[in-house]
């Protein structure tokens, strides 16, 4: 069968009449068609066009928000884990000037007595000779200084890292913070476990002072007590001359 219409059928069908919708129905439909345009005017710009810029805009906004939050978290991180603010960590020479090595060596003891919130342990940079003359410190800081990321090494590395561009420095700092955090916690736990009184260095200094003042009995007693408390502690030769009775 083709698409041609049978003429007889066509005329019979036409003879059925040309019914039409009532005028009221026409008015309803036409009114609805006008209302639809008024309520929802057709966009001047094709919908595809609008979508073409709105999606990238939304993506850019999300990206900017994510970067902002990340930077904010990096800035706030030192305050959270007890590390000094970035501004202080970037000025070690000022810290060194304001506090001589001997004073710095005492800082752990102060830190031990005080709550760990100060973060002084991590900032303290003992002089090399103080470290050699003071093996006790090595023992105390054993946990933190084992491995490649020791505090000393990090402090020595710091100027180089500061010379790097900003993003590298931030990354290095973030890496340091990640490695320092567990060590700092361990150190704080050790310090809290020790008696709040004195470190072995400080104790020996006190015994040497007694010896110097001629209070030999007290010095002997204190030294005996010291050896009892620290049987494994090897007193350096220089200090031994000062604390033992001659």
């Amino acid at each position: 069968m083709t698409d041609e219409r049978d003429p007889k059928l066509q005329s019979a069908y036409r003879a059925l009449g040309a019914e039409a919708p009532p005028r009221a129905l026409d008015e309803k439909v036409l009114a609805a068609s006008r209302r639809a345009i008024e309520v929802h005017p057709a966009p001047l710009v094709a919908p595809t066009g609008r979508r073409s810029w709105s999606v990238p805009l939304a993506a850019a906004a999300v990206l900017a928000l994510a970067v902002g939050v990340t930077v904010h978290m990096q800035i706030e991180q030192p305050g959270i884990d007890g590390l000094p603010p970035a501004s202080e960590r970037d000025r070690p020479e000022e810290v060194a000037k304001s506090s001589p090595p001997a004073v710095k060596a005492e800082k752990p003891a102060i830190a031990a007595a005080a709550p760990p919130a100060s973060g002084g342990e991590l900032r303290a940079k003992p002089a090399p000779e103080a470290q050699v003359a003071n093996p006790a410190r090595e023992t105390t800081a054993n946990t933190a200084e084992a491995g490649p990321g020791t505090l000393l090494e990090r402090e020595q590395r710091a100027p180089e890292e500061r010379a790097k561009p900003g993003s590298d420095r931030s990354l290095a700092r973030a890496r340091d913070m990640a490695t320092e955090a567990p060590a700092a916690l361990a150190k704080r736990a050790d310090a809290a476990a020790q008696p709040a009184a004195e470190t072995p260095d400080r104790e020996l200094e006190r015994i040497a002072d007694l010896r110097k003042q001629g209070r030999h009995d007290e010095a002997d007693k204190a030294l005996a007590e010291f050896r009892k408390r620290h049987p494994d502690f090897k007193i350096p030769a220089a200090m031994l001359e000062r604390v033992e009775r001659r």
Partner: protein
């Protein structure tokens, strides 16, 4: 030269109310007859007719020229009629069967009883066609669609559309005494 139906619909989509008025003027009679001869009851036909135009108005934003406007419009009409038949409990699969409700005993077509004897038989035969065959015939003669367009508007294939149209034509010609 008058704008084509498709251009008018695009113009209406862009906010031209006058374009829709012209479209409506062109197709109001044909669509109304298609609906009223499909469902018979005048009130129901008017309701369905209005709903079909409302759906066309609502769908204007999605309108793209992929086929003739009439194919698009009568596709909407077909879907609305199928919904109507479903609500009446008539299965869509029965659209092609002979034993559907119009042929039930006691059924009396209205509105054309005063016509001449031959025309009366024709009208009765049209009324008694299975819905799918009647729809194919009406789309062919009222909306002036080809077999391919009928297939597209009714969501069937060309073979089915052609078959329905052939059966409808044969029955109506028989009613006219022209077999």
């Amino acid at each position: 030269m008058a704008a084509g139906d498709e251009q008018l619909m695009l113009a209406y989509r862009e906010g031209d109310a006058g374009a829709f008025e012209e479209l409506y003027r062109r197709h109001r009679g044909g669509l109304f007859r298609f609906v009223s001869r499909s469902v018979r009851e005048r009130a129901v036909a008017e309701e369905l007719y209005q709903e079909i135009w409302m759906r066309a108005i609502e769908a204007r934003g999605r309108y793209e020229i992929q086929a003739k406007f009439t194919t698009w419009l009568y596709t909407i009409a077909h879907h609305r009629l199928v919904d109507h038949w479903r609500k009446k409990g008539l299965q869509v699969v029965s659209l092609d069967t002979e034993s559907e409700f119009s042929a039930q005993p006691g059924y009396e077509p209205e509105g054309i009883l005063q016509a001449k004897q031959g025309l009366e038989r024709f009208a009765r035969a049209l009324d008694q066609l299975p819905p799918a065959q009647r729809e194919a015939f009406l789309l062919h003669h009222e909306a002036e669609m080809s077999v391919a367009e009928i297939a597209r508007a009714t969501g069937s294939n060309e073979e089915a559309a052609k078959s329905r149209l052939r059966y409808a034509t044969a029955k109506l010609k028989e009613a006219l005494g022209d077999d």
